[in-house]
Symmetry: C2
Subunit: 230 residues, 2 copies
C-alpha cells in the first residue's frame, strides 16, 4: 500500500497542504491525475469550490484533480482512478455519504491494490478502523462507524495536549481517548498537527516535526519519535 | 412537565451540584426518593461509586437515591420512581444503553407525566431532540441518535466561546454547531457552564449567571439573558 494520513491539511499561518508538499510528490510519483473526495465538507463552501481549492495546490505539482461528485457513476470513477485524496470536514458526514453510496468498500479495495491515498483530518480518520476517535460533532447519523482499516489502529487527528489553564469542565482529549479504550481494544494514534502516518507496502511509520502520543488499553499513554515504526 | 437540564454538574473550583442546590430542592419538592441513571459513565468509577457520589449530595437535602443499575427490572423501576437524575459522562454510551434496554421511551413517558427530571451534561443532552450536538467522542455506536425530546430543541452543554489565542486547526464549538445547522433545522442552545434550562408545565426558560448563545438555521447566532423564555 501507498498511504499518507495527515493530522491536518493546513498548519497555523501556513498555506493549504504546503508543509507536506514533498511527501505528496513522493506519494503520487508517476501519477498525473487523482480523484478528490469532497464529501466531508458540510457547508461554507460547495463541493465544486472545495475541489477548486485542492486543484490550486495540485496544479503547482502538475497533478490534475477531478472531484468525485462530478462523476455520474462514482463507483466506476473510483475503480478507474489512479489515486485519491480525501479532504477534511465532518467525519460523520463523510462516512455516512461513503457508506450510502457504496463507496467505502470500493475505495478500500482500490487502495489495497496499491493506488496512492492521501487523507487529511476526516480523510485520515477513514483510513483507520472506525470513526470512534474523531473529534467531530455527530451532525448526521451514519449507517455504520466502520472505516477502511488501511492501518490496524485508530487515528485521533488534531491531537491536542491538555490546557492546564482552562477553567472548564469539558473532558480533555486524553480523557476522551481513555474513555474510548474502556469500550474498545484498538490502539489510538494521537496525531499532533504537523505529523502524519505513512504506509509503504506493509511498513507503517509516524512522521513529522513532533512526537506522537500513543494510547493502548490498560497501558499508560506514551510518546514516540518521528520515524518510529507502528 | 418539571425538568431541569444543566450544562454541567460541577463549576470550576466548586463541589458536585453545589451551585444549583436551591433549584434541585425546588425541582424535587415533596419527593423523598429518586432514581439515579449512571449509564453515561464509561470508566474511571463504577456505577456503584458514581451513585454513591450523587447520594452524598442528595443526603444533605434529605432525598434518598437508588442507582437504576441496582434493579433487576429497570423498566419497572422507572415506572415506579418518583423522580429521576441522569448524570454526565459519555452521551453515546448513555444513549446506546438506554435504547438497548428499552428505557429511553419509558423514561420519556414518565417525565411527560410530570415526574421531576434532572440532567447534567450528557443527562441534559438526552432531554433534547437528539445527540447530534453533543461534544463527546463517539466511543460506541448507538442504534439511534434520537433522545427524549422533552424540549423542542437541542442542547450543547459546556458551551465554550472561541479562544482567539489557540494556534490549532480544529473547529471551534460555534463552527461545529453551524455545521450541524447545514444538515438539520433544529434550534441549538449553547449552554455555558453555570447555566441551565428549566421547564415547568409548558414554560421553558434559560437560567443561570451568564448569557446563553442561540443558534438557528440561516440566522446569525445571538445571545439571550437569564430568565428568557424559549
Amino acid at each position: 500500500m501507498n498511504v499518507l494520513l495527515a493530522s491536518t491539511s493546513t498548519l497555523f499561518g501556513g498555506k493549504y497542504l504546503e508543509y507536506i508538499t514533498d511527501e505528496i510528490k513522493e506519494l503520487y510519483n508517476g501519477i498525473n491525475e487523482i480523484v478528490f473526495i469532497p464529501f466531508a465538507r458540510p457547508g461554507g463552501i460547495s463541493h465544486d469550490d472545495y475541489t477548486a481549492k485542492a486543484k490550486a495546490f495540485f496544479e503547482e505539482i502538475n497533478i490534475r484533480i477531478k472531484g468525485l461528485h462530478e462523476f455520474d457513476d462514482q463507483i466506476e470513477a473510483v475503480n478507474n482512478a489512479q489515486g485519491f485524496f480525501t479532504g477534511g470536514g465532518n467525519t460523520f458526514l463523510l462516512v455516512k455519504t461513503l457508506h450510502e453510496k457504496g463507496l467505502m468498500s470500493v475505495l478500500k479495495e482500490n487502495v489495497e491494490k496499491g493506488k496512492p491515498y492521501l487523507g487529511t483530518s476526516a480523510g485520515s480518520n477513514i483510513g483507520g478502523q472506525n470513526i470512534k476517535t474523531t473529534n467531530d460533532m455527530p451532525i448526521v447519523y451514519p449507517p455504520s462507524f466502520e472505516c477502511m482499516g488501511l492501518v490496524p489502529f485508530n487515528i485521533n487527528p488534531h491531537y491536542l495536549d491538555p490546557n492546564p489553564d482552562l477553567k472548564h469542565n469539558g473532558e480533555t482529549r486524553e480523557t476522551r481517548i481513555q474513555e474510548f479504550l474502556t469500550q474498545n481494544d484498538t490502539k489510538v494514534i494521537g496525531l499532533r498537527e504537523g505529523n502524519w502516518i505513512r504506509k509503504i507496502g506493509n511498513r507503517i511509520t509516524v512522521e513529522g516535526d513532533q512526537e506522537t502520543r500513543i494510547f493502548e488499553k490498560d497501558k499508560e499513554p506514551y510518546e514516540i519519535k518521528s520515524g518510529t515504526e507502528l
